[in-house]
């Protein structure tokens, strides 16, 4: 029996767990998520990375801020009372695959030397999230929704090199390079 190093698999699962819990919490709270896209990361920008590819229900959002605008538009309900105005995402399942264990775009040579391909750090990960989104609910309960939809979000995450450098203040370990969203 050959020994298989599953560090990458496990690290990717944990990274996905952290990411998913953070991301949907932000959205449910009406807080920003644009800081988690490569588009707004200086290191990636300077290295010439194209903006994150964001496709929402078939519509391409040029910037993460456009996606935030769509989210805000979705929450818009001026006449609703507090118990009927929220949009709440509930994750039912997520899964993660490492699609490139030797990701190196934008990394310094030093980072490439420190983190080997089996260390679960320099990974490009596809994260697939599915769940239910409730429209018109209170923060406490999803019972009295006006509409309920299924959502599926597929992310491609890449390492946040800033978080790996020694004097990093910014904790997010991965950034979004691509997001494909559908809700129906």
């Amino acid at each position: 029996m050959t020994y298989v190093d599953d560090t990458n698999t496990r690290q990717a699962a944990d990274a996905a767990a952290k990411f998913v819990s953070w991301y949907y919490n932000q959205i449910n709270e009406g807080k920003g998520v644009s800081q988690s896209y490569v588009t707004n990361n200086e290191t990636y920008k300077n290295a010439g990375h194209p903006p994150a590819d964001i496709c929402v229900n078939g519509q391409v959002c040029p910037t993460p801020e456009d996606w935030e605008k769509l989210l805000a538009q979705q929450r818009e309900a001026p006449k609703a009372t507090a118990d009927k105005k929220h949009v709440n995402y509930v994750v039912d399942t997520y899964d993660a695959h490492v699609i490139n264990a030797d990701y190196r775009f934008g990394a310094t040579q030093n980072l490439i030397d420190i983190h080997g391909v089996n260390d679960g750090v320099r990974m490009m990960i596809m994260v697939n999230v599915s769940g239910t989104v409730y429209f018109g609910v209170s923060k406490r309960s999803n019972d009295e929704y006006s509409v309920k939809q299924h959502f599926n979000d597929v992310f491609i995450l890449v390492p946040n090199w800033d978080s790996l450098s020694k004097n990093s203040k910014y904790g997010k370990k991965f950034l979004i390079a691509s997001q494909t969203y559908r809700a129906y």
Partner: protein
């Protein structure tokens, strides 16, 4: 551990509650009773200090209470202690047994308000074990028996009381596996009332119209017999009961929403909707409400419902004094965004209602057609066509053609709670990282299938499927785009990848019955360049299948967003490869087209551009090389230069 230090030893506090029985001699006159009980709580160790479990009512009663017999405080506080203990979590919850105790009916205690249950249980708790505290659960009197749950550890001590005398009667205790009679918490009168209310509902529910007719309840025989008429508070209570019982008849919110769409409360002498407010909570999705011929005299009498009934379409208030107020209709219309008919008059069109509702509740984002940005070669359409055809007919060939040693596959199924059986073939493979609880669970690694041979093996064990053809765009949503920075399999450098996300449905064969059922799914692929020598220039790096119960709604069929229903151009593209044999799918280059497909493309282009068949064919066969998108593009460019003959119908 030091040997037991006798009755007074404080050192036993944190040891196991060998707790001296409170009846034990001297101890009962001292503070031992308290020690005893505290000892019980403090099993959890240090937390005991912060638990105030006994409180004034229980403190110190144990000793004397025991001597006198049952005391309310004792049972309450010991139960509290038990609950706290469970809550604090000193180890796992103990297994419980169910006991049936016969004899209380014959005892003198039978005349107690609770039928003697409490005193019987106190008696048993007291007598069962003189060295150990025994705590019973809440007892229920059902027929001649008292039902109660007890810790399994205490069973032997309790059973030795079998045949004991209690308040002048012999008691028989038996262990049982019969289910604990939960329903019996409802008294006989309540059950009777319930039956009567159900009879009332049956009489007043119209299944065709989905109407619950609660008009003129004051003249109802059943309610009259129940004595619910005459007193205002009783009438309100019985209304709440009716609404509650009605709601209970439906298992889910959706069923209720479907089942009761109209309610009539006409002729009920309602002077303020406060009296029937519950209706708004029980049936928030109500579509038609009849409040006619009541005594609502000002708008304020109905304003409590202002924020409710967002989906109310018809409302009848005729026969109420308030209808003569000026501006009444305008005001009411504003309160209910979906209201279209008020007292028989149209106040909004359905379109206006949909528009008005937007201000009242968050709205889903519009749904656009498939978004295919897969470069120039239609790789996604070509791949998907081959993929689903092979997945349905020859999974082994599929694995060997498009998957290699580095390919990853996983499946996750998201059943509704309690419905795992429906998903049986998939559950054991389901890699729902959320449900598995993170990477510490070995299943996170085990359920990730790596390499073509393992993948083929997995697929072999899954049920046979039939996917709809991609020619039915209404059944599919496909988004894809290219992205940079995959590792190039040849060594150094970056390679482009293609992300494809598919939503669709397939029919699945039931292995035993050979019946087909429909499942809906989302599947995402990452395609990347193959290693040298592979059958295709690209391979599947990652394939994640999610099974769920939601039917994807392609654009155009969606109810709310008004998106023009245009045929999905990319799927027409996919028609290019319709005739390509499944075993050797053409991946790049010019696909071979049969006449039928060509004719189809010509027809489609003609329909989209208005050109006649001849020019459409010219356009397609020219530089576009039968690529529909390119043909459409070149039409747009050349439109101005085209002769009028291009748009006249050919004879």
């Amino acid at each position: 551990m030091a040997p037991p230090t006798g009755p007074r030893g404080g050192g036993n506090r944190n040891s196991k509650p060998t707790a001296r029985a409170s009846r034990g001699g001297i101890a009962k006159h001292r503070a031992a009773g308290r020690t005893d009980r505290d000892g019980d709580v403090s099993m959890g160790g240090p937390t005991s200090g912060s638990n105030p479990p006994t409180g004034p009512s229980g403190r110190g009663t144990r000793g004397r209470g025991a001597a006198r017999g049952a005391s309310r405080g004792t049972r309450t506080s010991t139960r509290l202690a038990q609950t706290l203990k469970n809550y604090v979590g000193d180890g796992s919850r103990q297994p419980k047994v169910t006991l049936k105790i016969l004899g209380v009916k014959q005892s003198k205690a039978a005349s107690n308000p609770d039928g003697g249950v409490r005193s019987l249980l106190s008696f048993i708790e007291r007598k069962a074990d003189k060295d150990k505290k025994v705590v019973l659960g809440r007892g229920i009197l059902e027929g001649d028996y008292v039902w109660v749950k007890a810790n399994k550890d205490d069973l032997t001590s309790i059973m030795h009381l079998n045949g004991y005398q209690y308040a002048g009667a012999n008691i028989t205790i038996e262990e049982t596996t019969e289910p604990f009679p939960t329903g019996s918490k409802i008294s006989k009168e309540a059950t009777d009332t319930r039956q009567k209310l159900l009879a009332l509902l049956a009489k007043r529910y119209n299944i065709e119209q989905k109407l619950l007719d609660l008009s003129a309840l004051g003249t109802d025989d059943i309610l009259g017999n129940l004595g619910a008429i005459g007193s205002q508070s009783l009438a309100e209570k019985s209304f709440r009961a009716i609404i509650h019982v009605a709601g209970e008849q439906f298992k889910t919110v959706e069923e209720k929403k479907e089942g009761i769409q109209s309610v009539s409360l006409a002729r009920n002498e309602i002077s303020d909707v406060d009296q029937v407010f519950t209706l708004a909570y029980s049936l928030p999705h109500l579509r038609r409400l009849d409040l006619s011929n009541n005594q609502l005299d000002t708008l304020s009498k109905i304003s409590k419902w202002k924020q409710e009934f967002r989906y109310l379409e018809e409302l009848y208030l005729v026969g109420n004094p308030l209808t003569s107020l000026t501006g009444y209709a305008t005001e009411i219309t504003q309160w209910f965004p979906c209201l279209q008919v008020l007292d028989g008059n149209v106040v909004r069109t359905p379109q206006e209602a949909a528009e008005a509702l937007k201000a009242w509740t968050p709205q889903p984002l519009p749904q656009l057609p498939s978004n295919l940005r897969d470069g120039e070669n239609n790789v996604a359409s070509i791949f998907l066509r081959s993929f689903f055809q092979l997945y349905d007919h020859d999974r082994h060939a599929l694995a060997s053609q498009f998957y290699d040693t580095e390919s990853l596959v996983s499946i996750s199924a998201t059943p509704e709670p309690g419905r795992d059986a429906d998903w049986k073939p998939y559950m054991k493979y389901s890699r729902n990282v959320q449900k598995l609880g993170g990477s510490r669970n070995p299943a996170v690694v085990q359920r990730l299938f790596t390499g073509a041979s393992l993948i083929a093996e997995l697929w072999r064990s899954l049920p046979a499927t039939r996917h709809a053809t991609l020619d039915q765009p209404e059944l599919w949503i496909i988004d894809c785009h290219t992205f940079p920075h995959l590792a190039d399999p040849s060594g150094q450098g970056f390679a482009m990848g293609l992300m494809i996300n598919v939503h669709g449905q397939f029919e699945e064969a039931d292995a035993t019955e050979n019946l087909y059922g429909t499942r809906t799914f989302s599947r995402s692929f990452i395609l990347g360049p193959s290693k040298p020598g592979a059958p295709h220039p690209y391979r599947v790096l990652s394939d994640q299948l999610t099974l769920h119960k939601w039917t994807p709604r392609a654009a155009g069929t969606a109810p709310a967003p008004a998106v023009a229903a245009v045929p999905l151009a990319p799927v027409v593209n996919a028609a290019n490869v319709a005739s390509v044999p499944a075993v050797a799918p053409a991946v790049a280059g010019m696909p071979v087209l049969d006449e039928a497909t060509r004719a189809q493309l010509i027809q489609e282009l003609s329909r989209r551009t208005g050109m006649n068949a001849q020019y459409s064919e010219l356009c397609l066969s020219g530089t576009a090389n039968w690529n529909f998108d390119l043909a459409l593009q070149s039409f747009e460019e050349q439109k101005a230069n085209l002769p009028p003959a291009a748009f006249t119908a050919t004879a």
